[in-house]
Symmetry: C2
Subunit: 131 residues, 2 copies
C-alpha cells in the first residue's frame, strides 16, 4: 500500500447517529485513531458533539483542540486528511475508536504515528514527511 | 493463537524510566491498550505515576480507576491479566500506548475488546467469556 495515498475505500459509516448514549465529559469524548489496514494506532484526540457530527457527515475526521479551544479539521493546513471508515464506542460509552485511512502522516512531527517513541526514549517511528 | 492463554513472550520493557518528560494532567495520563499480535485496540484507561511504575516493575498492566479513585491491577478479580510487552508515548508526551498480551477478555462485559459496538449501535464484538 502506498501510504501517502488514500485508498478511498467505502466508509461503513452512517451520516448521523443518535448520540444520546455517548458520555461526553465537559463536552468532550476521547478518540483513539487507528489505521484501517495496518491497524497501527496513529494518534489520540478529543471530539465534541459538533466534531463527531461533522465527521459522520463528511467522513473526514474532525476533532476539538483543547489547547486552541476550537474545532479542528485534521489535515486542513497539512493536507493530511483522515478518511473515516468506521467508528466504535466502548463498553462505558465514554471513548471512541476511529478506523481511518490516513493521508501522509498523522503526526505534526512528520511521523506516520504520533506514538513514535518507546517509554525508554528510543525513536522507533516511521518518518513520512519533512517539516 | 489460543487467545485465552498468555503467550508470555519476552517483554521489551525497562524496569524503570525517567518520567520527567511525561505530562500528567491532574495526576493522570490516558493509556490506549492494544494487543501485541492482533493489533486489536482492547480498551482505554488512565494511569497515575504509581500505576505506571508498577506496570514497568511487574510487566502486568496497572491503571488508576477514576470512578473508584484507586489503583487498579487489571485482572486482579477476573484473572484476565494484561502482560505488557512495550509502552509508547506520543509526540505531546500526554498519552501512552501499551502493547499487551491479553488473558481472556479485556472487557468486563465478556468481550475481547471494550470497543464491541459500532457507532450505529451494532454489536460486532467477539464474546470470550460469560458473565
Amino acid at each position: 500500500m502506498d501510504k501517502s495515498k488514500c485508498k478511498c475505500g467505502k466508509a461503513n459509516l452512517p451520516n448521523t447517529v443518535n448520540l444520546f448514549e455517548l458520555k461526553f465529559e465537559n463536552g468532550l469524548i476521547p478518540a483513539i485513531v487507528q489505521e484501517t489496514e495496518s491497524k497501527e494506532v496513529l494518534m489520540f484526540a478529543y471530539m465534541n458533539e459538533e466534531a463527531l457530527k461533522l465527521t459522520l457527515r463528511t467522513k473526514i475526521a474532525h476533532y476539538y483542540s483543547r489547547s486552541r479551544q476550537s474545532l479542528w479539521k485534521k489535515g486542513e493546513t497539512s493536507g493530511h486528511f483522515q478518511h473515516v471508515k468506521q467508528i466504535y464506542y466502548d463498553c462505558d460509552a465514554d471513548c471512541l475508536l476511529l478506523e481511518v485511512d490516513q493521508e501522509g502522516g498523522a503526526c505534526h512531527n512528520g511521523y506516520r504515528s504520533c506514538f513514535y517513541r518507546t517509554i525508554d526514549g528510543k525513536n522507533v517511528g516511521e518518518k513520512v514527511f519533512d517539516l
